[in-house]
Amino acid sequence: MGKIEWAMWANEQALASGLILLAGGIVGVAGQFRGWEFAAYAVAAGVFVCLLEYPRSKRAKGTSVERSGQYCFTVCVKAFGPLTRNYYVRAFLHAAICVPGGFMLATVLGCVCLGIASLIYLAAAIRGEHWEPILPRKDVRKPVAESIKNPPQNPPPRPPPETRRKQAKDLEGAAYDNPSSVTDD
């Protein structure tokens, strides 16, 4: 398992945890459970985790597969710079976020799942991985060379005298018109 990017699995796990936290929170709030405040927190935390984890990171090696419609999220997450790039930060962030979920049954599963995701992110951070945005590649077109704008002023070199004599008999056929203007007007 030498070349695994643990962050990829951590990302899947964290996204799932966000959804589970969100679901548990919704049940807690909708059912007006005791400790529904924790459930309300879980709804907000779940949404936050989902938004943070939705854009996949670019892989260090190999092709990256992005999630559909992730470009907007990528831009938002990228805006936070080192906070989102560094996986140590993410690991501790997830560990901190998951703690209040542990105080209520409806959200405890989300808490544990997020805790596991935090541990996998820690492993990824220790191995030196970091988050890279997947941005669309801009094809840089080579700038148009200057020589196109200035066509040659002189006519092309003529064929050798032997063949030229044939053309002299047929003057009409030998002449030609430039199909387009060769001057800058």
Binding site: G2, K3, E12, Q13, G31, V65, L105, A106, V108, C113
Partner: protein
């Protein structure tokens, strides 16, 4: 529409039957718990959340039984082999085992979610009843405890903790709660590590994490032994219609003794025990095969970073005296293997090798079709190389069981060196066909998909030669990807009223294309050609 029936008719039928059973189980158990009189008092405390928890539980029992079966490869090979005489259609369903496994897994995930949400509501309402928040009947019911002449209904017995913490306490101290949380966690980890992205990139993460299924099944079997789903057991003595409004007289008046409750027995083991035993037998067989001795006959490095191992194992039925494995370098594991093999001295034995199988797969059916189209992309050509060798042997022995009249073989490769893996085999076959005057039997086309100008120049110079510059074969190499429409048209033209088997071993993108073409060019009309699509998975 007709051509869709050819390829998708039976699988769709199987899915419909499976879904039908799921729906039936859900509705049946929902009504059982929602209408049953012996659950009247339970429903008074829980409402319809009782039925909403029990119905998915039944569907879960059914699907947990099914999920192990599609990955019992020896069982599937056995079924496939026993159907060799009869139905090719049923045999083809065995090839879709992984798709079915995933479908059942999704259903398990969905039902787990519903089951869990319903139980969250149950625990909360049981807790509230115990705290006396609801009406008198609820409080009286909740007070019934396991004493001399009463049995409990409400599984939450604690009252001396902070009421907000009681649901958590109950979940972690009851068997059902604890096992439920553990196995749901195992399920979530299994699912996140089986996402396609993870599976394709780091198979080992997927493989090792998936073994959490052991914990899943162990927990599942003991999940229900606490018997906390309570039903009334003394319906005769205590008539709930009469007594429900006289809760404070229970036990004091003769017509309303205390209602007695019993837990429903754990039933999951009855569903999953069979498949668990079958799967355990599979793994035992795998272990036995691992221990059996495998000798290396030869270790060869082929061009394009492909390792060929020629192995011998006792008891393996082979047409030659060895079988060979081609391994392409595709990541850190394969690179390490190739490195180890290259460092070995000449003639030495390689590292300990265990060989599992043989398993029947889709390509077994090649000889069962009158016409077969074999498409191998890159290293995916290996199963077909084995088939071509088999053809050569059957030809030599004039095997009467050979039903095939015609084989079209397409080999797609990115670089020229790859053709060298099997060029000698193809040359051998070419010679054999020529000798017997049977040019018609095998038509093979090689496609070099990664050509450039230097290739084109080279070909132009050697255009008039008899043999191909790349392979040395009489059949010229084609450049670029095949035009599948043209190929299918040709096969259809040459073989009217035939059943054609298309076999692919290659990337998923190509599989989609070919599957669609099979659908497009098939016709239910028996006078026209039918294409059946088969895929090798690895």
């Amino acid at each position: 529409m007709g051509n869709k029936i050819v390829n998708y008719g039976v699988p769709s039928f199987i899915i419909v039957v499976w879904m039908g059973i799921n729906i039936f189980l859900f509705v049946w158990y929902y009504l059982f718990y929602d209408r049953g009189d012996n659950f009247f008092y339970t429903r008074h405390l829980l409402g319809s959340a009782l039925a909403w928890a029990r119905a998915p539980a039944a569907v879960l029992n059914f699907n947990c039984m099914l999920i192990l079966l599609p990955v019992c490869r020896n069982l599937l090979s056995l079924i496939r082999g026993s159907l060799m005489c009869c139905s090719r259609t049923m045999r083809r369903q065995m090839d879709r085992n992984l798709t079915f496994h995933k479908l059942v897994a999704y259903m398990i995930a969905l039902m787990t979610a519903i089951h869990m949400v319903a139980h969250l509501l149950n625990v909360e309402w049981y807790n509230n009843s115990r705290q006396g928040v609801y009406d008198e009947l609820s409080t009286t019911l909740s007070d019934l405890a396991d004493m001399e002449n009463t049995t409990y209904l409400n599984p939450i017995r604690t009252t001396n903790l902070n009421p907000q913490q009681i649901p958590l306490y109950f979940a972690f101290t009851s068997i059902a709660g604890l096992t439920g949380i553990i196995i749901t966690l195992a399920l979530i980890l299994m699912i996140t590590s089986s996402m396609e992205v993870i599976r394709r990139s780091y198979f080992e993460v997927f493989w090792y994490t998936h073994h959490l299924f052991v914990i899943f099944f162990a927990g599942l079997v003991i999940h229900g032994i606490g018997g906390i789903v309570r039903r009334q057991s003394n319906m005769e003595e205590h008539n709930f219609t009469l007594c429900k409004d006289q809760a404070d007289d229970w036990g004091k008046i003769p017509e309303c003794p205390n209602p007695e409750f019993e837990g429903g027995p754990a039933a999951t083991w009855m569903w999953v025990l069979g498949p668990m035993i079958i799967y355990a037998a599979e793994r035992l067989l795998r272990l036995i095969r691992y221990v059996q001795n495998v000798q290396y006959r030869k270790i060869v490095m082929r061009p394009s970073k492909v390792l060929e191992l020629q192995l011998v194992k006792k008891g393996f039925k082979m047409e030659e005296d060895f079988f060979s494995v081609h391994i392409r370098s595709a990541g850190d594991w394969t690179d390490k293997l190739i490195e180890i093999m290259q460092k070995l001295p000449e003639g030495a034995q390689g590292p300990k090798m265990g060989v599992d199988g043989p398993f029947g797969t889709a390509s077994e059916d090649v000889f069962d079709y009158e016409v077969s189209m074999l498409v191998g992309a890159g290293i995916g050509v290996t199963p077909f190389a084995s088939i071509l060798k088999s053809i050569w042997y059957r030809f030599k022995d004039n095997d009467p069981k050979l039903r095939t009249r015609k084989i079209y073989f397409y080999w797609l490769c990115r670089e020229t060196h790859a053709f060298e893996w099997f060029a000698d085999l193809l040359q051998l076959l070419e010679k054999e066909m020529e000798q017997r005057g049977l040019w018609d039997f095998l038509t093979y086309k090689l496609f070099l998909t990664g050509w450039d100008q230097s290739h084109a120049d080279h070909v132009m110079v050697h255009f008039d030669e008899d043999t191909d510059v790349v392979t040395g074969l009489k059949q010229k190499t084609h450049y670029g990807r095949p035009s599948w429409d043209k190929e299918f048209e040709q096969v259809r033209r040459d073989n009217p009223a035939s059943v054609v088997g298309m076999f692919l071993c290659g990337p998923a993108a190509l599989a989609n294309v070919l599957e669609k073409k099979c659908g497009k060019y098939s016709d239910v009309d028996p006078r026209r050609t039918k294409f059946y699509f088969n895929k090798e998975n690895f």
